[in-house]
């Protein structure tokens, strides 16, 4: 919402500067976001007299003008159609920048004739729109050498103020003036309307046609006929004010109704009387009606919009926008001027459903002052009679002004108990409330107040605390320490704490594994559905790329990796921790961690071929490390080859606890998936469902218990069928004696000439440790035999000769 400081002074007796006004408004909750005075920009553009204008020797349309600046004579080549000897114009000198196009003037030769600047058009100075190629032509008696800002009377600062939705009363100059007066910046000039006497005895028939339960749709509707007006462009001051607040001047009749919206915050409407037939009836739309609005668009109306019809047709979407048919035009001579009150909820609903935004809707939605319905009509009438002539009829009134809000009691003690401020006296409180129009009456230590007609947002004592504190400034509120908390006062639910800790643990784990963290939107596209299933559709997606809730974190990681790769990041690791959605109801989401690793390690003098980087085993290592970060023993997890379509069927694994509880997947990306996302080279991914991994029950460590006796290490090589999973050989060996601690790993896999075809050799190294005693040779032999038997039993493997 914009307003100018001069406009405010129509209602405020003050010597305050715009800066002081901005400070007070901001302090009171009307945050001034920007301030601008066009005069500052226009100050260097000054009036000059064209003492001589002669045709350019080399160009038909140009004139060579001798110009008197009041300080000296200069020469300017000008293309203005009206450039001629004797006129007063506006000069842009070399070095000055033209506001409209940001061009800086230079001394130039135009077709061989030197030009020291330019005579400006109003468009070039942002003063109006001209398309006839003419330059500004001022009255002959305009003094020379004065700023164009002064000539046009635009030395006025525009304040751009953020208005919160509760402050409908501050959508006009009058409301701001009241705020500034309350804030101590001068005295409010209370507006009292002078009734314009009726000179003609003619009223336009008005009627309501609302169902019994919707009478509130329009509590009050007033209007009058004005005949014999002359429409046309508004006077400069009116145009300037409207332009300063961002409203385009149209014609004086339209401008006056717009002016009232920004002046008293009162939207109004003028109908061209000659286009109306019979009378006006207010009713509610049934829904589906077509309405041709004065912006030229046709809107389909929702049900329960307040509409105004004459005998023939729909003439206005009340409180939102007038109709094209009865819109005021250049040649309009007779009007019906409307000022009314509409229900904010009905206006908001109709506005939202029809999609029409207007200054009028904006104000009615936020609530206008019911007490200003007739004063605004009188003010607009007076302006019309003054600027357009004509004679006014009597004011016709339908309905009545709603009852004012009831008084309620306010206990000033609340300033302390709610506001935390102990330094205000009852007198302070009364003065502020009085200036804000709350009519305070003190009864002992209580105050009763009446919310003013323009404040629809006041409905309880907490509001009054805010009113008083905001006028005094929230700086008055001290910073207090929070009360201490007893340890058993905490309500930390374990079901929240444990997952939060887990998010921390898994991130820490990946920090040490070379992963950079990514963060994606919660959305994905149809393109992602191909591999990751259908997501919950969003009704109003921001784009087709983001039209459903994600089912996996992987699409974003795949796209990110592809992007990074395309930009030249040859290898990398990315992960994300976030929610995915498996249903559309609240809570049908689960926490995941997913990662992607791509490319090869760079060549290095110490190893000429790349180290393992983006293969299945790296992704497996990541998953096992994450499971262990979740407090799970990796050996509890079972692996299977049942993997989703996005994984390489031979180089992917499913991780589960038993057959049902799937914890996640990892492996090499399926070549089709890689292709789908435009990724090249080796790429592996993993995704773990963090909510599926059980939380460890006991977090205390078992005592450190290293056997004091020497351990023994033995190598074995077993020949098994090639189809046998090598891990089974190791697993069988590790489990041979639960009383011992056995660790080990596979250190070689061999297939080739030295073996029967279809066979492979799996070489393992085992370390045995006994917590109770030193191994004796006989025991060792038994142990080795046990290993041999166990491996043979589970895998058919025989000890390699």
């Amino acid at each position: 919402m914009k307003i100018t400081s001069q406009w405010l002074k129509d209602y405020l007796d003050t010597s305050a500067t715009p800066e002081e006004m901005a400070e007070v408004l901001t302090r009171q909750g009307l945050c001034v976001e920007d301030m601008e005075n066009p005069a500052t920009l226009l100050a260097p553009f000054k009036t000059v007299k064209v003492t001589k204008a002669e045709p350019h020797p080399d160009a038909d349309r140009l004139k060579v003008c001798t110009v008197d600046t009041g300080e000296g004579i200069t020469q300017v080549v000008c293309g203005g159609t009206n450039a001629r000897t004797g006129i007063v114009a506006v000069l842009a000198k070399p070095g000055m920048t033209i506001p409209a196009n940001q061009l800086t003037m230079k001394v130039a030769k135009i077709r061989g004739v030197e030009s020291h600047g330019m005579l400006c058009s109003s468009g070039e100075l942002g003063l109006g729109e001209t398309d006839d190629g003419s330059i500004i032509e001022l009255p002959a008696n305009t003094p020379l050498g004065i700023s164009v800002a002064e000539v046009f009377g635009i030395d006025d600062t525009t304040l751009d103020i953020e208005i919160t939705p509760n402050r409908g009363d501050c959508l006009g100059a009058y409301g701001f003036a009241r705020e500034l007066a309350a804030g101590g910046l001068g005295a409010l000039k209370t507006y009292t309307a002078k009734a314009v006497p009726a000179k003609i005895d003619e009223s336009f028939p008005l009627s309501f046609d609302f169902p019994e339960d919707k009478k509130h749709a329009c509590p009050l509707f007033t209007g009058r006929i004005i005949r014999g007006v002359k429409n046309g462009p508004s006077p400069q001051w009116l145009q300037n004010r409207l332009k300063a607040v961002g409203v385009r001047p149209i014609s004086v009749l339209v401008d006056i109704t717009n002016y009232l919206a920004y002046d008293l915050g009162r939207p109004m409407h003028a109908f061209d009387l000659s286009k109306l037939q019979g009378g006006l009836t207010l009713s509610l739309s049934k829904g589906g009606e077509n309405f041709e609005a004065l912006d030229g668009e046709i809107y389909k109306l929702p049900a329960d919009a307040v509409i105004i019809r004459d005998e023939k047709k729909l003439q206005s979407l009340a409180g939102i926008m007038g109709g094209l048919h009865s819109a005021v035009e250049e040649n309009t001579t007779d009007i019906f001027l409307e000022s009314a009150l509409f229900d904010p909820i009905l206006i908001a609903n109709a506005g939202r459903a029809s999609g029409i935004n207007s200054d009028s809707r904006y104000r009615f939605e936020r609530g206008v002052d019911p007490e200003l319905v007739i004063p605004a009509l009188e003010k607009a009438t007076a302006m019309i009679l003054e600027l357009c002539g004509g004679t006014a009829g009597p004011v016709t009134t339908l309905g009545r002004t709603p009852k004012p809000a009831e008084r309620f009691a306010f206990n000033p003690e609340l300033l302390k108990t709610l506001g935390g401020v102990e330094t205000l006296s009852q007198r302070d409180v009364e003065v502020i409330l009085d200036k804000l129009g709350f009519d305070p009456k003190a009864i002992e230590d209580q105050i009763t107040i009446a919310p003013p007609s323009w404040r629809h947002d006041i409905d309880g004592p907490a509001d009054i605390v805010e009113e008083i504190l905001r006028v005094k400034g929230y700086d008055l509120i001290p910073e207090a320490e929070l009360p201490p908390i007893l340890e058993n006062d905490h309500q930390n639910a374990p079901n929240i704490l444990a997952p939060r800790r887990r998010q921390l643990s898994v991130r820490r784990a990946l920090l040490g594994r070379g992963y950079a963290e990514a963060m994606g939107f919660s959305f994905m596209s149809d393109h992602d559905q191909v591999f990751f299933g259908e997501g919950v559709p969003v009704k109003n997606p921001i784009s087709e790329d983001l039209n459903q809730l994600r089912t996996s974190l992987l699409p974003h990681l795949l796209k990110s990796a592809a992007r990074a790769q395309a930009k030249g990041t040859a290898y990398g690791k990315l992960y994300e921790v976030g929610n995915v959605f498996h249903g559309s109801k609240p809570g049908e989401q689960s926490l995941c961690i997913a990662g992607i690793l791509w490319g090869e390690t760079p060549r290095h003098w110490q190893n000429s071929s790349p180290l393992p980087y983006a293969d299945f085993f790296q992704s497996k290592a990541d998953v096992l490390s994450l499971l262990s970060a979740c407090g799970m023993k990796p050996e509890k997890v079972s692996l299977s080859r049942e993997v989703p379509a996005w994984l390489h069927p031979g180089q992917g694994a499913r991780y589960s606890l038993g057959p049902k509880n799937i914890l996640g997947y990892s492996g090499v990306v399926h070549p089709q998936t890689a292709d789908h996302y435009d990724i090249k080279g080796p790429v592996s991914i993993f995704e773990l469902y963090l909510d599926q991994v059980p939380y460890p029950k006991n977090t205390t460590n078992a005592a450190f218990d290293l056997s004091p006796y020497p351990s023994i290490e033995r190598d074995f090589a077993f020949v098994v069928d090639e189809a046998v999973e090598s891990g089974k050989v190791l697993q069988a060996a590790l489990k041979v004696d639960p009383k011992l601690s056995i660790t080990g790993d596979i250190f070689d896999i061999y297939t080739g000439d030295k073996l029967e075809s279809g066979k492979k050799s799996v070489a393992i190294c085992l370390t045995f440790s006994n917590p109770e005693k030193t191994f004796e040779e006989a025991e060792i032999q038994t142990l080795l035999k046990k290993v041999q038997d166990a491996v043979e039993k589970t895998t058919g493997g025989v000890l390699r000769a």
Binding site: K416, G419, L510, E517, S522, F523, N540, K567, G578, T601
Partner: protein, 360 residues
């Protein structure tokens, strides 16, 4: 008496051989030849027994002296040779220290958002808040109506809400929560005062441009307890901001504002200034709007079955990405969501600095 000169000669010869030996191996040979079982000196000592007793003693003393001196010389020579040989060996083992080590593939980095979110929640948890959570998909009731934002409320239109096709039990479209405030509703409906929670989480607005992403994150705060006033709210937020930005002198300003779910409502600004287009926190030359807050509106309490005559408290909410941008000097919000590993490495936190909330 012929042995006298030969002993001197012997000593000279051996000494010279020791001194001239050029390697530990050669020296070792000499040692064996001299002191070994078959060594010359050993032979001489052995032959002592053949001498008459009167000569034996004198000869014995001479030979012992000789052995001591030869041993000393031998040991000196051995140490010198050993040191020289070590030097030579080490000199041959030189590496080119200008060569690079293998690239470190274990250095991960934490997204600056995560660091900021962690720091903020840690600070607040240390101040006494517990953590609460709520779902991303919400009912309009929880996201709006219960928060005193009915369907026609102008504030509701400012929310740029994402709707799902699916509906709740009342036939209202489900929404993606536009703020973390519905967690206030969920908490107030289920817990008994005193209530002190923060609700960090993801929020959604149907808006996307240079300064908006369709989802972002907020931290909501709610403290309901007897005697809680706006002064506590101001103190709490000032402390949080000063700790987060690690600026004990940060100027924190409270300014009136409006939210349907608080009354009185306020906006918190922090003091700052601009230097060559660069924002610098501190001072009070200019102000930066940073969060919204207020005393919980009685309608919100009533909607959740909490008696506003008995209970009051404050609520606040702020955007986490913005806090991260301000603290770490990140100019572009959209980059948060681009998944560029180099960006994360640049603005993010390695293992040595990650999760450093409340570090001094």
């Amino acid at each position: 008496m012929s042995a006298q000169p030969s002993l001197e000669t012997f000593q000279k010869e051996i000494l010279s051989a020791f001194e001239n030996s050029s390697s530990l191996t050669e020296l070792e040979d000499l040692r064996v030849k001299t002191f070994g079982k078959q060594g010359s000196l050993t032979g001489m000592l052995k032959s002592l027994g053949t001498l008459p007793p009167e000569e034996r003693k004198e000869r014995g003393q001479e030979l012992n002296k000789l052995r001591q001196s030869l041993t000393q010389v031998f040991e000196n020579r051995r140490d010198a040779l050993a040191e020289a040989e070590m030097k030579t060996k080490l000199a041959q083992e030189n590496v080119d220290i200008t060569l690079t080590p293998q690239p470190d593939l274990t250095h991960g980095s934490l997204h600056p958002f995560t660091e900021a979110m962690w720091e903020l929640t840690q600070i607040l948890v240390h101040m006494g808040f517990d953590v609460a959570e709520g779902p991303d998909v919400e009912t309009q009731e929880n996201n709006f109506d219960a928060l005193n934002i009915p369907a026609h409320h102008p504030a509701r239109q400012d929310h740029d809400t994402f709707y799902l096709e699916d509906t709740d039990a009342e036939g209202q479209n489900l929404v993606l929560r536009t703020h973390t405030s519905p967690v206030q509703i969920r908490t107030l409906k289920n817990a008994k005062p005193p209530i002190r929670i923060i609700a960090p989480g993801r929020t959604y607005r149907c808006d996307s441009d240079a300064t908006h992403t369709p989802n972002f994150h907020q931290v909501e705060g709610l403290w309901i307890e007897e005697g809680i006033t706006m002064a506590h709210l101001k103190g709490c937020l000032a402390e949080m901001l000063r700790k987060f930005f690690k600026k004990p002198d940060l100027v924190v300003r409270m300014r009136p504002s409006y939210f349907p779910f608080t009354e009185p409502s306020a906006e918190i600004d922090i003091g700052c200034r601009w230097e060559n287009g660069q924002l610098i926190l501190g001072g009070s030359e200019d102000w930066l709007e940073i969060l919204g807050c207020g005393m919980v509106h009685r309608c919100v309490l009533e909607n959740c079955g909490v008696d506003p005559k008995k209970h009051q408290g404050f609520a606040f909410g702020f955007g986490v990405e913005r806090m991260a941008m301000l603290k770490y000097g990140i100019p572009d919000l959209r980059a948060f969501y681009e998944g560029n590993p180099l960006w994360t490495q640049h603005y993010g936190f390695g293992a040595s600095h990650a999760f450093s909330a409340l570090d001094q």
